[in-house]
């Protein structure tokens, strides 16, 4: 009995981890997601660090932005400067979560989607590029970029 319970608990915790790495459901209204993806409010300072990090956010591979200490920035996409002036928090959220919902041909990676992807490398399989918390951090940072 006890062993059975333990196994059940173990399976539950494994399943729990997998759930945390995948994408939780969210609701799109118009061109935006108004409900935050995580309980904790996003932290702009952490968001900035994620955006600046070439192997976490990857944003500066394609975008430039007001992050002068990062010398190497991309020009495949518009500058992030002013993004918080152009878009509401809810609009920014959908653009990071899954920009393909707005532009099916977009080259911007879907940061919070695990479906419809081909041949994903094993270590990343079933995982979103950023977690719900990280997306909230990034959105909070972008919202500060008013000009």
């Amino acid at each position: 009995m006890r062993a059975g319970l333990l196994v059940a608990a173990l399976i539950a915790s494994i399943a729990g981890t997998a759930w945390a790495q995948g994408a939780s459901p969210y609701t799109v209204v118009g061109d935006a997601i108004s409900q935050p993806l995580a309980d904790k409010p996003g932290d702009p300072a952490r968001g900035r660090a994620i955006v600046a990090n070439r192997s976490v956010g990857l944003c500066l591979l394609c975008h430039s932005g007001p992050i002068p200490e990062e010398r190497f920035q991309g020009n495949l996409a518009p500058s992030l400067a002013g993004a918080g002036g152009r878009w509401s928090v809810a609009q920014l959220r959908l653009r990071i979560v899954d920009g393909a919902r707005l532009n099916p041909d977009t080259i911007m990676p879907p940061y919070y989607r695990t479906t419809g992807l081909q041949r994903v490398a094993k270590p990343f399989e079933g995982k979103t590029i950023l977690t719900a918390e990280q997306i909230e951090d990034v959105v909070a940072y972008l919202a500060t970029l008013k000009e």
């Binding site: 010398r71 920035q73 495949l76 080259i107 879907p110 992807l117 081909q118 994903v120 490398a121 990343f124």
Partner: protein, 254 residues
Amino acid sequence: MLLPAVFAASFALAQASADKTAADKRRSGYQDMGAALQKMQDDDTANPGMLFVQLGQQLWAKPAGAANKACADCHSLADMKGVAARYPAMAKDGDKPIDLEGRVRLCRTVNQQAEPLAPESRELLSLAAFVANQSRGLPIAPPDDPRLAPFRAQGAAIYQRRQGQLNLSCAICHDDNAGKKLAGVTIPEAHPTGYPLYRLEWQALGSLKRRLRNCLIGIRAEAYPSDAVEYVALEIYLMDRARGMVFESPGVRP
């Protein structure tokens, strides 16, 4: 009297080559590098790839395996001219195409009856670089072999398909955004003109396959196993796309 004729002739020649450059906008990765790296590639005494070519030349003449034969016992150097500029090709009795490294590995096991050379090993790359160097300066000229067509089509399809966690295709970067900056790096057009080539980042000579693998890993796609036909299919497609461009192995890249 002679002077204007000579002038006219040389002018026509200059025009013809100018027209050719105007029509052909394709760029080798060489053209996207700074002057210092271009000079490094052009100068045989500075090009680190030439050390591998020299090693390959020694291995070429060295008998090996149960057959105790050297490459040089069966091949003249003249026979190797142009080979790298037209590979991958179908092996004589095989049903799958092989690339230059694959061809060298096959001769190693079948014709020399020696231990197989490991993929990306120094010996294999050196031999391939030596053979490839015999085609330096020649135009890339893939064979018109109908058996290659389905593999070329497979390569083209892989090239166009989005894959990996980042959901990108080769074409998105190398066709649609070539010349732009991915972080600090200029995205090249992905012409396989210089392989095997020396990459400063690798601190080593590497094959085209290694480069393709790097790009797959970059978009967080599952890399193919090293003997997968998908790599050769991509190579066939890329060589066809670069048909007529100058073969420049050993290239140097950042």
